[in-house]
Symmetry: C2
Subunit: 104 residues, 2 copies
Amino acid sequence: MGYYGKHIFFCTNDRGADADRPSCNRCGASALRDYAKKRVKDLGLDGPGKVRVNVSGCLDRCEEGPVCVVYPDEVWYTYVDESDIDEIVESHLKDGKPVERLKI
Amino acid sequence: MGYYGKHIFFCTNDRGADADRPSCNRCGASALRDYAKKRVKDLGLDGPGKVRVNVSGCLDRCEEGPVCVVYPDEVWYTYVDESDIDEIVESHLKDGKPVERLKI
């Protein structure tokens, strides 16, 4: 197994409100990433051999965003609100069952 | 295969010079990540189905840094200079052969 069992990256790129292309942080990515990090910690899932929640630069799937990706599974998600994050954290990161309805 | 064949994340966290713990950007992570991104582009490796080079927040292996990780392979590296980056790009990202001497 890798250093982390599940490693999730949230794109928090922000092109600003007037850009030609959308960007994840315009859809609340930073706040929802922070929420995911807190949920993982509260559930005791964080740490080596378990789960790591990171921000990243632009993952270049902007038009499908906001996006995050879970490695090593190579599962990509979009999400809207805290309930979507709850489902990713509890179903996928905790129980290992990807959330089909949020996949991109 | 996932959206990217090889997805590499460079920690560019910076705690500042006076922090108790080291941090990757104090070792030139941002500049060497930019160099990696340019090398990948120059070699025509960038894009869906191929390679993506991203920055990330703290990967929490600070004492072993500067660090980067290649997914979905789950291979972690440290690096010192552009020649190390060249080797990671050409051997691992291009040819699929991990660089044993830089693994952590």
